[in-house]
Symmetry: none
Subunit: 144 residues, 4 copies
Amino acid sequence: MHVTIEQAETAIRAARDKAAELGTQMCIAVVDSGGNLKAFYRMDDAWVGSIDIAQKKAKTSVFFGMKTGQIGQLSQPGGSLYGIEHSNDGLITFPGGIPIVDEDGVMSGAIGVSGSTVENDDAVAQAGAQAIGKTELPAHPWRT
Amino acid sequence: MHVTIEQAETAIRAARDKAAELGTQMCIAVVDSGGNLKAFYRMDDAWVGSIDIAQKKAKTSVFFGMKTGQIGQLSQPGGSLYGIEHSNDGLITFPGGIPIVDEDGVMSGAIGVSGSTVENDDAVAQAGAQAIGKTELPAHPWRT
Amino acid sequence: MHVTIEQAETAIRAARDKAAELGTQMCIAVVDSGGNLKAFYRMDDAWVGSIDIAQKKAKTSVFFGMKTGQIGQLSQPGGSLYGIEHSNDGLITFPGGIPIVDEDGVMSGAIGVSGSTVENDDAVAQAGAQAIGKTELPAHPWRT
Amino acid sequence: MHVTIEQAETAIRAARDKAAELGTQMCIAVVDSGGNLKAFYRMDDAWVGSIDIAQKKAKTSVFFGMKTGQIGQLSQPGGSLYGIEHSNDGLITFPGGIPIVDEDGVMSGAIGVSGSTVENDDAVAQAGAQAIGKTELPAHPWRT
């Protein structure tokens, strides 16, 4: 199953509420399990540069069925995935992208958030993912 | 003024309602006056290929302060703007993109819709633009 | 010889004055004989979409040592250069790009203008080119 | 407010004078608050490779409302923004890009300079930004 637009809206609402609670201005993107954009929301006064980063975080996360920060730990100089950011028209591998996984462990999409510190970006993405997903650890990395 | 996220959501809701009325599945994009994405909404079962087209229609419309179909009439073989689609990383010049203009004639953004016939795309974009804009004919093509 | 920055500024000033005389808001680009940007000027309220088109017109013109409109006559369906716009990261082949050529017939660069009708774009580009060039017909299509 | 062309010219003139004082040949770019090019100036004998870098520095700076060097400190290996340069069609995160901010703390654009050491690039950008801006620290990262 792909994430539905109703789910995407629920995730964005939860993410937006968390962002407001933190006093931040965020770009929030939801992609389906094919990495294709489902919904996008840019809060007023959010950084323009975050439009692309939020989407790339969501794509990166769904492309590999991992949180973006997990990939970033492997892509450092000397790491096993060093330079992976050059693939797929650009990946973003620091925190803020999280898979959306259902109760059967099937990944239906991902959420990506950008606009503040990576800690805040990650917290806002978590709030969004948890509103519709059961875990961030897919048993099945890909399913359409 | 750029389009606000509240306005963008109002436009998308109106466009979505029109799409449902027409029995179509649409991608709906709203960009600000600089052509940067503000909000995006993909209805379930909409064409994946429409994700990019909806965004390009919105950008094309705000880039020149015109409905996309007006540009398309000039870009036909032998027309004065033949080949303009090769600029700006790709333009879409058939109907479905409409500027959002306030009461002072200032363009604050644009809406782009893709997913059905161009007639339906245009009707859905109109519904969205009219929900927050006053006219589709900006007096000022770009605010400073 | 490449166009100098002093010449580029002279050309832009002349183009800007012509644009003001015509009551238009233009983007004006000057490139050197290698097609690399030398100077760029966007009048207030000019179309955002014209930023790229003005630069592409200047590049297209210097790439082939012709006015852009001349190439556009050959790139129509059935024409000998049909589809040439797909090369070089995108060409623009309607009027508004003009080579800058010195008294020895050497092309030192080109000017590209976008922001109004192609007639106005071409007139403004002409004003700019004539301020520093002697003819629009290079004897030597390329020289650094 | 976006930066006006008059302001952009004032900034470029101040930057150019500083570059001459330092005996350097610079590319100088000014973008508006949406990251779209407003004006560009390449001094004679400046590196061709600096054309793109100057523009990317200006864009990077306005995209995040920071000096480029501040982002570069966070994007080092092991840093929180490692790899951010892969977003937005390429960012440049070493010094030489500075936001332009008005007396109300609103960012109207940014200046980017490339052509010498990063210390010189930054000094020239500072001269340009200070000629029209009040501070390099926007209170509002993006105007609405």
